[in-house]
Symmetry: C2
Subunit: 429 residues, 2 copies
Amino acid sequence: MKAIVDNPNINYMELLKRPVENDIEIKSRVSVILEMIRVQGDEALKTLTKKFDGVDIDTFEIGRQERVNSKNLVDESSKKSIAAVASNIEAFHSAQKTNTIEVETMPGVKCKLVYRPLKRVGLYIPGGTAPLISTVLMLGIPAKVAGCKELIVCTPPPVNPAILYACSLIKARVFTVGGAQAIAAMAFGTKSIPQVDKIFGPGNSFVTEAKMQVAALGIPIDMPAGPSELLVVADESAEPQFVAADLLSQAEHGVDSQVVLISTSDTIIARILDEIDKQVKALPRKEIALKALKNSWSIKVDNLERAIEISNLYAPEHLILSVSNPEAFESSIENAGSVFIGNYTPESAGDYASGTNHTLPTSGFARNWSGVNLQSFTKTISFQMISPVGLDNLGHHIIELANAEKLAAHANAVQVRLLKLKNDEYDDN
Amino acid sequence: MKAIVDNPNINYMELLKRPVENDIEIKSRVSVILEMIRVQGDEALKTLTKKFDGVDIDTFEIGRQERVNSKNLVDESSKKSIAAVASNIEAFHSAQKTNTIEVETMPGVKCKLVYRPLKRVGLYIPGGTAPLISTVLMLGIPAKVAGCKELIVCTPPPVNPAILYACSLIKARVFTVGGAQAIAAMAFGTKSIPQVDKIFGPGNSFVTEAKMQVAALGIPIDMPAGPSELLVVADESAEPQFVAADLLSQAEHGVDSQVVLISTSDTIIARILDEIDKQVKALPRKEIALKALKNSWSIKVDNLERAIEISNLYAPEHLILSVSNPEAFESSIENAGSVFIGNYTPESAGDYASGTNHTLPTSGFARNWSGVNLQSFTKTISFQMISPVGLDNLGHHIIELANAEKLAAHANAVQVRLLKLKNDEYDDN
């Protein structure tokens, strides 16, 4: 980790820039893949799966038998833990349900805002050496709670039984297809993969670029994704051993991960760095963690207010407050994906188990994006019902503004009604 | 209007395709503009404003004096109507405030979801022959209610005093710059125009394309925009004169607008078409309305259930239910931006005055996008606080799942804490 002592002249936006790759090559390759899928559908999916995954696949959807069998291939202790964390995720996201909002804005003018689930959502689950069971749960459970009718999972071959098992819990249809081609298939629809209303989930730089390119066509996505990151604010009360373990848990994600440690205490910083040196040796992903630490910083500040100020500039995906009075700072946290409070709240609790969502904005996007929450799987519809009395109250304002905007037919739609009301009144007398 | 009688073989997605322009040329021109602003900032803004608006502008921000003066240039009856509708918009959006959500998902595991306002939002207000006062209110009032600290309005020269007056009500800073260059300036920031957290507002095809291109870079936008549209479901109880006026109020927006009339009654359809012929003659924007009607359809169906089914496929921006028992159909409406219920609820009420937002998804995007609402101006942050008891309950599940995902450092961050708890307990005994 690189070390720095805070001073007001440091440009933190520059200093703490996330490691990024140049992606012009990726952009154009992804745009070719998108066009192939849009035009050729399943045929292109087959070609690209052969090319990138090295396998011939005729039927992309995984059949019932294979899904049922997956249950026998996951051990009991994993199943118990999956059930426990699923219950926490469900509890937290169920609490986010929003009632219909109803307001009579003026006598006779009733307005409503109604939440409706998206009908069909697409969840991308990356492949790789380990099955990302947690990502299936973090996307699938809120989708079910929101009431989405159909969950489509795309994941590259070979599909791990643990992924299939998790998908069976959320009652998703599973398709063996990965990469930018999977995103394109869910965005446009192919003969075998249905078009979805919104696309969720992490992935490599091709998947991410594909999500951004379909977003430019109007297909909603959960958020722009990037390498994982953690910022820890620590005062003298922090446990160096815990903070070191947290920083390493983030650093092991990938060589492009970044961790930042901000502390009011030189002693604590030194002790945390010592602990990192000790703990990193025992890690199977040591090489990755060591490379990520090279992108990483420790910052000595004069006070915790300044630490929070720098954290807000950085807008971390994960923020740990290892300070003696964390509650005092909660309201000053403006930009962060998820915040972990106190010495017994490791960041990995949020990754798996506490109940909060682990799909969070990275790369500073916590400034202007939310993490995935229940509303990510819903949309709103507004309703209004105006009574004759209501239109009598409101009508002349509509006419006034429609005329100011030179939209005579807008005004006329009110006038014909007001005239009818007047005539009816006349008839009544 | 073209007429058709429903039958199960009609492909409505094809039949009711929105009129769209081919935009490859626009895409590449917008991408050049974006790059110019990103690299040259204000200098490029000046060049492009000279080129597209034909004026030399040195200082883009409109000064205090001009904003104050605008008050004297708007007549009193307009001001009264603006105040009345502003109060309705404020009432409806204030009711959408969401409290912090707090759940103890397991004993000792506390999770929170907190809503925070976006700090600085950018509102694009198109120019043209008439000042879009209503759009300033529809975007600015929810932003203020949400607690956004800074509102940036960009609008092309010459800026109408009514726009300035409305901007002073929402306490926005106003910049005289329009088109794709305005979107780029708000997305990237220039010396004179600050970078914003999210971009809202309608515009021509250049503005829309610029919003989609900055969205692909991760800058949030309100929604993909397109020409306005209205679908009316009418039974025998509909007032032909009212429905005709509503269809025309939508048709006058632009030649690319589209209106759809679905009815169970041939007689009602015929009477509405008659009324349209009568009313259109008196409209100043008659030529525009007539062209829009050429993209438009009337559909005769057997029953209202089928009408709603077709409406859900179409996913209209605006949906009017001119039927005798509209409440019976509310829950079947899956895809619509805003719904207008009953004979005395003209669509223009929602454009200006009822309190609902008029910034709504078009082009079928009501399938998967929300209209602007209070949450459009907020983001969420999650918090978790785990007590030693909580970690004792949850810890082994985190370890189990971290090991399944082969992330040893994630497991270790829990293990070091559980070990400490055990040792402390041992020390206590």
